[in-house]
Symmetry: none
Amino acid sequence: MLDVIAPLVVSNTTKIVLVSLDGLGGLPRPETGRSELETAQLPNLSQLATEAACGLIRHVAPGITPGSGPGHLGLFGYDPLRYQVGRGVLEALGIEFDLRAGDVAARGNFCTVDGTGRITDRRAGRIATDVCVRLTERLRRIRLPGVEVFVEPGKDYRFVLVLRGRARSGGGLSARLSETDPQVLGKPPLAVKALAPRAKATAALVSRFVAEARRLLADAAPANMVLLRGFDQLPKLPRFPEVFGLRSAAIAAYPMYRGLAKLVGMEVLKTGATFDDELATLRENWDTHDFFFVHYKDTDKAGEDGDFDAKVGALERLDRAIPDIRALGPDVLIISGDHATPSVLAGHGWQPVPLLVWSRYCGADAVAAFTERACAGGSLGVIPAQHLMPLVMANALRLIKFGA
Amino acid sequence: MLDVIAPLVVSNTTKIVLVSLDGLGGLPRPETGRSELETAQLPNLSQLATEAACGLIRHVAPGITPGSGPGHLGLFGYDPLRYQVGRGVLEALGIEFDLRAGDVAARGNFCTVDGTGRITDRRAGRIATDVCVRLTERLRRIRLPGVEVFVEPGKDYRFVLVLRGRARSGGGLSARLSETDPQVLGKPPLAVKALAPRAKATAALVSRFVAEARRLLADAAPANMVLLRGFDQLPKLPRFPEVFGLRSAAIAAYPMYRGLAKLVGMEVLKTGATFDDELATLRENWDTHDFFFVHYKDTDKAGEDGDFDAKVGALERLDRAIPDIRALGPDVLIISGDHATPSVLAGHGWQPVPLLVWSRYCGADAVAAFTERACAGGSLGVIPAQHLMPLVMANALRLIKFGA
């Protein structure tokens, strides 16, 4: 799709705002038969839906539950099946580590092994984050030849390992490595193996890191060993601002989403911790950018907690911000999300996500409410996420026609 | 899709009429909130929609505005992204030039250059068509070794250049050539370059044509030079009558649409300049063909002019012809279009286009009006244009089942 779009892009002065409600889609609460969106009072979104073209977004494929990475890459116009981002890279983005091209990142777990080296707990009793921080301090003593070693604490028992080659030239590092987590108890961690000849040197470095970690953690019960998964490097993605010819800004309070936006080359604007801060940032930067990705986290958080009422509340708070966004005068306003997080699932869901595209040229349909059920009858139909950006560009009058 | 369909085709005596309303889809007029289709009085189309299965057609992909080429190829069952037709070929079809396999066609502009050869006007002040005709007469004096040269005037400053190899054998001509239009003022026209080794000989011929043209036009102010774009050859398309097993007729008053139908192997019937002439041609040829592509231009013309009321009028005129078409007793009647031409855009649009498929076996849905909004809720959903022909063939009872 990007190859089809790129030659059609023309410049214009139109402004585009994409509001991504994380985990937007939901499911009916069994007691009422109404989803979070159907339960919430959303006068502004209803009005917008009445004026807009509506539909549903499918981020990966029917039945596939998207993670945050594929969910957002889809919204940004990238086919998530073609452009895959490994877990190690996502973890690094999630703690806003400044990952560079060529770095190899892995997700680490602190775990517990017995006297014979067999795993007795893959998460070391889900140790607290402050214990995790102390343990990563120990691992930071590890030195490996020819590379910088970064060990960054995450939440609970998680950390991120990054190896960065010192030499700009040379073969460099490779992430084609097998994981050390056997995924079962009673077995020792697996040896790291190179999955391609070019990864042999990196496999040797990681093996040495694991051996050193075992030694440094030996007396650190209960977390006395590490498991490493999801080795990966930054993917080579076409750059969003160049592909679409848009001065592009990302406004997100959470590091993971800033990281995903940075991955595609958007400018990540400094903002505060709340959605009000994000809106202030949007206002302040209105004149200097063409495209704004604005991220709203509360919907996902409530859904993940399985808290139906909290998700209803999060939707109603977002609804109250819509007039402020419209007051800025965007030419194209898109409301959608990166995946569903139905409260009844207390986690991400595979359900397609409501989509609303408003512009002067969006066309009308019969949809007058921003809900899963209403949007299913909208004029946009059920579309793959990567088809959204072309539609947005068309509504912004930034594409010429295909074929004479 | 064509590969799946072809082995399933069986013969039958059923008759199919596909009425393509050029630029059918529209957008609401801001003052009323109603589109052209929603404003027009269309009793016959409403009745047909009530009896038919409805939906929306998307010709290329969401957000992509189709040109007439991709728009019609989609209606004829061809994936427009797979089968692309270059601008040179479309221009040649548009003037009904008898383009043959192997010919290289380019779109030409007469332009203005200054004393140092730099472009000062890419369209030579949009010279009148009769000036264009006189200038092409000059260019027809050009002779090139081993090829026939055709220079055919188009509208205003446009012409078509066609090179035809004299030898049936040999490597032949290639259209893998760079364009000469630098797309900016103040620069001289670009040299033609071969984009593939096999195009070297053709590049040399075109360069010689350009040099001769410069000499012949030197004293012909303001149009004293040419620019060449969109070099292409006839694409190799599966032939529509053979793929679908249909004796296929195209009835179109405008040359471009006759050309597109010829491109896929339909028989182009001689007809007059009006839609009434087209309907007479339809009646006269009813017994000798199975499939009729009937083209209606007025909707697009009014839309391109940005004339909302004229488009409403064009729709109402078409509506009055529906009983005549039904009186012929088609087994399958399809009403749709090749792309939207919303009057508020005064040009082609990316919006999906209403679709109506009537047959004894089409199934009913709740749609009772032939409008963008109503069709969005139809039982056919939003489908790619190339999925229409299989659906039509099924309704004509001309396909056996897939898999035993």
